[in-house]
Symmetry: C2
Subunit: 307 residues, 2 copies
């Protein structure tokens, strides 16, 4: 089965602390990767975890607070060390275009690849904002102090694969093969029906990942993240600081777990820990009380979705 | 004796590699500090080395290549965690003002302190660009691919201190004490001359530091760094790559040592190593052949000037 993997590159919020870097996730689907948020030092984490950065197709920035953004100029500039020629797309809230252009111009950066920057406005969400042959990416609004976007990555269902001996055995035409690959049964020349179950390998099931950072507790996102295989939801605070979370428009452990439960997701990753916490183990235990399949996201951790 | 200390926060060039971060030095004179260059991750190094960042009075950026610059937005934004209220001055080449303002505006940064950004043009160098009660800072031109500035930090000679018993013994007036502290002998009421040698503690000797990064080999800088106690001169390459150095407008080991020798400096620190080098020990030995008091600068290293 092809990989569908989320790698945590940074799990802290605001400031790097206790060895935890600033927000960044890498989603890898088969041989393509997608970067989500890019805090200062993200390029160092890529070196540390031996990330093949030329596989990155697109970058998705949730919002423009510095802890999610300030690694971008260094990441974009340093591609000349990796001989990148393939175009790169960047998606983020309004303002990201000027930020990137000024940083690159001021620093005399020469990019050997084309950069396409897409600003996602409030009017653009919820919607499909990107697709390639591996994934579709949907953006939806989050409620934070500044314009913020959540992202849902849906794997594209691969076409069915015909079993090697089926073509000869059933004397299939090119058109019949196309029909079967597209998921439709065909009628053979003897009048019998050949089902996809007989002719094809078992169908792969599309996998999905949703990234929710930063947001206050907000049930309106449930419809956008419904039944994803893997949900990342920020948990800046342990639940005893729920008032601080409300004030700063962040979420607590119990709130993230509640959203995971309501959205019937398969697995929850938590992170975006406040730098006040040296020990983050209570985050996981608090979430598990409400949503048992909750897991701490920590720098370097990998979550594979296997179906 | 008050400290006059240079701390290396990052010693690599272009990309962080082999545990070496991007260019940044911290000069501390008594209870005040001055930051020189600010590559991505500089704020992480400050945390690692327990730097008291509220003591930083001013930031000096040599040029706007990303490896010397991209740590600045994070450094400036995160002062709210340290309750900084004191104004901060930043000096750098033209373009730095727009870079900083766009980064801070885009990321909704709220600074609790005043920021004064000074652009140093080609016409402004060489000249005195900054002074406070501890130091004077002179800027001078370097020859690199983009506008680049070298900096010389001269400690201000502290006023003389009167020996505690001298005032009573010689019945000194307030004006006479002022005269002595300013370095002038005084005539006592009995007609005798009281010398500063008799009345005062031995005078402290001003110390100095010069920062030269990035530059091609250039003897025209010698006059600006003459006889400094401590010279940092970039050594991007071992001397066998002198042609690469010329092409990229950088310096080699032997070139840096030659400049140190011609300028009759007391001690040379080297750094700004290309990320091609896993082992940097040959840098020091090559420099020592020409200038024996040469020392590798590596992240975390401290150089104290004691006179």
């Amino acid at each position: 089965m092809t990989p569908f993997r989320v790698r945590i590159l940074g799990s802290n919020s605001s400031q790097a602390s206790f060895g935890r870097f600033l927000p960044s996730h890498l989603l890898t689907v088969d041989n393509k990767s997608y970067l989500i948020d890019c805090g200062e030092g993200t390029q160092f984490q890529m070196t540390k975890y031996k990330i093949k950065r030329n596989r990155i197709q697109a970058v998705f920035i949730s919002h423009l607070h510095g802890d999610h953004l300030f690694g971008l100029p260094g990441f974009l500039s340093s591609f000349h060390h990796f001989n990148r020629y393939e175009a790169l797309r960047i998606f983020g809230p309004p303002g990201i275009k000027q930020f990137i252009n000024v940083c690159l111009d001021a620093s005399f950066a020469h990019l050997g690849y084309s950069l396409y920057i897409h600003e996602i406005t409030e009017n653009d969400v919820p919607s499909l904002i990107f697709e390639d042959n591996k994934i579709e990416v949907f953006a939806f609004p989050l409620k934070h102090r500044v314009p913020t976007i959540g992202f849902r990555f849906n794997e594209k269902v691969p076409k069915l694969n015909i079993k090697p001996d089926a073509i000869e055995r059933y004397r299939l035409s090119v058109d019949q093969v196309k029909e079967l690959k597209s998921g439709r049964n065909v009628i053979l020349s003897d009048g019998n029906v050949l089902t996809i179950q007989e002719a094809c390998f078992e169908k792969a099931i599309a996998r999905s990942y949703a990234y929710v950072s930063d947001t206050v507790y907000d049930e309106s996102i449930v419809e956008h993240i419904k039944e994803v295989d893997l949900l990342f939801h920020e948990t800046t605070y342990i639940h005893d600081l729920v008032n601080d979370a409300r004030d700063r428009m962040h979420s607590t452990t119990k709130e993230a777990a509640e959203i995971a439960k309501k959205a019937k997701v398969k697995k929850l990753i938590i992170g975006h820990y406040s730098s006040r916490y040296a020990d983050i183990t209570p985050f996981e235990s608090e979430c598990k009380e409400i949503f048992p399949d909750s897991h701490m996201g920590v720098d370097g951790y990998v979550f594979d979705i296997i179906k």
